[in-house]
Chain length 558, copies 2
């Protein structure tokens, strides 16, 4: 059997006008701000008007630690959404937007795959509805206003060596990582060291994704620390008087985007913060709006459950008052084999023992998620090479962990293949066992919070923080930031800080290299390893092959 590529399937999609998709959720044409015929923003006034609705049930899709075999978290999110609609439930999907820049380095990412995709795929990998451009603009305005303030007399007494606000561009441009600005004489300002990150790493992105509404957005933007004075006191974006104009630049971007799955079910695609130095989930406003409009909302979090689900639950749910009713942990037979020690080239051959050995990684994630008080369903995302015995091995293992694993074939069959998973998820939710709580309270000290995640989620012996870091955390506690959650920046490939340590390792520590305060987003970032906030392009960037063909279709992007 020959399989079609994701892009072939996406291009063959029978898309419906976005107004018809909106109508499924009770959104009138007037309340949809169209961007072309297949994308729209849902108006803020409509969102305000449905705040009295009862909330639907929230389902988080997360995964084991990613392996090169691929797990299909977004694919499962989309497939589960379609599956729920197939079994007669009113369901919507909430996922993140893609970053434009990286698509010109490596090939662009589909939103899902096979017959479980969100469309229009090309536009979602290009400008989409302009949200990220708006974030870049808002960020750049603040950047310009900071140096402009210094230029015109620096009445805030900013220490130009301690400007912590970096610039951003939505492009992989390593040449901009570290630069010297304001050269060329008096007319251009005071030379200083500076640098660019990629737009998705902007604190503005994290804020947009965590804000409840426009006034919350403006408050958080104002709260951002942009620089310090010689006496180490912080200078805020509010002091620069940039928060109002930034909010104006972001007012459209704050409205969630509505698109559709291949099966014409509603999908919100909104926001896309980094999953390391930020929390890695789609916007709070999209999730909370979807919960007012659908009975079931399926969403996902970046990376594996140790990072993505942990942040979704400890940061996003805590801040937005969300409580998931069920968590789906995605695993594949192939990934279990890799966790069990099989090399990528050998994944095609049946190896039940390796599957069993690799299940320890899955088991720890199940246990972790349950510790938040939320029931778990494991989705085995089916690959064509999986054998019945291998699948059964996973199912048996999961049953032994007090959960249930369901084989799902949405990639190949769409909702026909995910109906069983959807049924199991609904059953699980209807048992009403979910009793969500974050695993640490607001009041806990910052160092203790880091330690709690390291020991309870990663199962490290401890988080290692030197005195300088402990002092910094203490300073922030004294400044009133002690109640913030922590955002761990660690490799996604392992529970440890070593990306090669698969499975469920023990007997390790988590060294914290640096801590950063995102005062507007509202979390303290603990950096445990190398974190790249401005990628570079590879030797042969995918951009070299991207072009329009004679039919006007985009070639080379996928």
């Amino acid at each position: 059997m020959a399989y079609k590529s994701d892009i072939e399937i996406a291009r063959a999609a029978s898309k419906k006008p976005i107004q018809e998709i909106g109508a499924k959720l009770g959104i009138s044409s007037d309340d949809l701000l169209p961007y072309g015929h297949d994308k729209a923003k849902v108006s803020q006034s409509f969102i305000n008007s449905v705040q009295g609705n009862e909330n639907g049930k929230l389902i988080l899709v997360t995964a084991i630690n990613p392996t090169p075999a691929g797990e299909g978290k977004t694919t499962t999110t989309v497939g589960l959404g379609d599956g729920l609609n197939r079994i007669g439930k009113k369901a919507a999907v909430c996922i993140r937007e893609a970053s434009l820049g990286p698509n010109f380095g490596m090939k662009g990412g589909a939103a899902g795959g096979g017959y479980a995709q969100v469309v229009p795929m090309e536009e979602m990998n290009l400008h989409f509805t302009g949200d990220f451009h708006a974030i870049t603009s808002a960020h750049s305005l603040l950047s310009a206003m900071i140096d402009n303030h210094i230029y015109w007399g620096n009445s805030l007494e900013i220490d130009t060596r301690r400007v912590v606000w970096r610039r951003v561009v939505d492009m992989n441009d390593r040449a901009l990582r570290q630069i010297t600005t304001s050269l060329g004489g008096v007319a251009n300002g005071f030379p200083r060291e500076a640098g660019f990150d990629i737009t998705v790493a902007s604190e503005v992105m994290a804020i947009l994704c965590l804000s409840k509404d426009l006034s919350d957005l403006q408050k958080r933007l104002g709260d951002m620390i942009v620089a310090y004075r010689r006496d180490r006191s912080p200078v805020y974006a509010r002091d620069i008087k940039a928060d109002g104009a930034m909010t104006v630049l972001l007012k459209d971007a704050m409205q969630p985007n509505l698109v559709q799955t291949l099966e014409n079910n509603p999908a919100f695609v909104h926001g896309g913060p980094f999953a390391n130095i930020a929390h890695g989930c789609n916007s709070v406003i999209a999730t909370t709006a979807a919960l007012k409009l659908a009975d079931y909302v399926v969403t996902e979090a970046g990376f594996g459950a140790d990072l993505g689900a942990e942040k979704f639950l400890n940061i996003k749910c805590r801040k937005a008052g969300l409580a998931p009713s069920c968590v789906v942990v995605v695993a594949t037979v192939r990934a279990m084999k890799m966790n069990g020690g099989v090399a990528k080239a050998d994944l095609g051959a049946e190896n039940v023992d390796a599957v069993k050995n690799g299940c320890a990684n899955l088991g720890r994630h199940i246990e972790n998620v349950k510790s938040f008080g939320v029931p778990v369903v494991v989705a085995i995302n089916h690959f064509v090479t999986d054998t019945d015995a291998e699948v059964q091995a996973v199912k048996d293992y999961v049953a032994g962990q007090g959960a249930e694993a369901v084989l799902s074939r949405h990639w190949e069959l769409g909702s026909e293949g995910s109906a069983d998973l959807a049924t199991k998820v609904v059953e699980t939710i209807e048992k009403g066992e979910a009793d969500f709580a974050p695993i640490y309270p607001d009041e806990m000290g910052l160092a203790d919070k880091i330690n709690t995640i390291a020991t309870k989620i990663y199962r490290a012996d401890a988080a290692l923080m030197d005195q300088k870091i402990l002092n910094q955390l203490k300073d922030w506690e004294e400044q009133g930031y002690g109640n913030l959650p922590v955002c761990m920046a660690k490799t996604q490939y392992s529970f440890t800080t070593d990306p090669n340590e698969r499975g469920a390792p023990t007997g390790f520590t988590i060294p914290v290299r640096e801590v950063r305060l995102s005062a507007g987003a509202g979390f303290v970032v603990a950096i445990c390893g190398e974190i790249m906030t401005m990628p570079g392009l590879p030797r042969v960037p995918s951009a070299e092959a991207i072009k329009l063909n004679a039919d006007g279709d985009v070639e080379g992007l996928f």
Copy 2:
């Protein structure tokens, strides 16, 4: 009588759904790509489908040299468009898009004014349909790919001291004018001097505005010179293999934007290149599409007629095969008085003699435009303080120049006030006297072209070019660029290079400081004075006062 502000009038507009505006031009809903309910792009496929239509008549609106009194060129363009519709003609307006960045320095610009405006005004001053963001992205991709090429071995042997491709951002950020990039060690590349311009100064902007279609766009992007080797041979964007991906990033931006006037008549707002280092007109594709859809198309060019109309006629019309049927030169009584020596504070008092003295500036523009073989109508854009005697003085002067001046009151009355102007323009066109030709042939040498403009349009004794500049022009001629038109970069406030020289000066020369080759856009820029390609923010940027008010409206932008 109390007058409403532009923004009050714009907010009170009775906008129609953009589909109704499109229908006036025969564009179906399917062929309109909506951006919200009041903006849309016209699909490329629709534009292709109407290429067999006969062309409408093209009317250029230009003006005397700008004075602080304000002339109202865009206002007259919009008013004339509405006036033509009022007298039963099928007319459309074509104007430029606004740049986002500068609105955060000084207050944003209306598209027109009073009762002759294009709406939605706020969105046109913010992200609009994202065209400028697409240009920034395409430009940034090429920037990243150049340094990436150098990083991975520099097989094209680019001399890193001779990278002429600067970066861009759509923000007034003087700190980025001159920077050093790629600092921080091996992983970040080879340090070199670089800098940012504002997006509208990008050659990509000029190219987008001059390209006939997407394949023309890609060819021109490929033709751009990005750097030189040690042997001074040029390296093109095509060599970097960026042209295909840049075209993909620009494919939506190439489709013209349709909005409406306050009177619900169609207005194309598309592209916005600098009027100094570029040609300063809206896109060729918008103008040519409008000509296929309307019987009369009213467009404008940046700055006064000596720069704007000259470039429109010698560059845009030449390249796009356009031939205007009539040129409207906008003048005001107040501006005539300033040209006649009256200070801005004294403009309120009647002063017929000063009006008469100032008319020399208008007279020279009339004569210049006629030298292109196109008939001229002068529009006296009425201000409330104008007296009958002053208006009559202008009319008498213009009659003596073999043209006719019509008082137009569109600012105050909309199309009711511009119907006379519209009638006169139609009468003029129907005489069929237009016989347009550029004032210099392609074959003329580059230095002679510069000299022709300086002597025939500015009435200078000569353009002064030193040997270095002459050699450079000769080199380009030898490389095959001799057939390009020249794009003059000079102050807009005077025929001379001194912005304070009003009226119709004689006995001066035009010193050419520098020449630049825009090989993709297809012109040679002759720089005659200080040209700023990256503005800074003022001491108190308008951004400080921009915010959303309690009703969700934008405050402080206008």
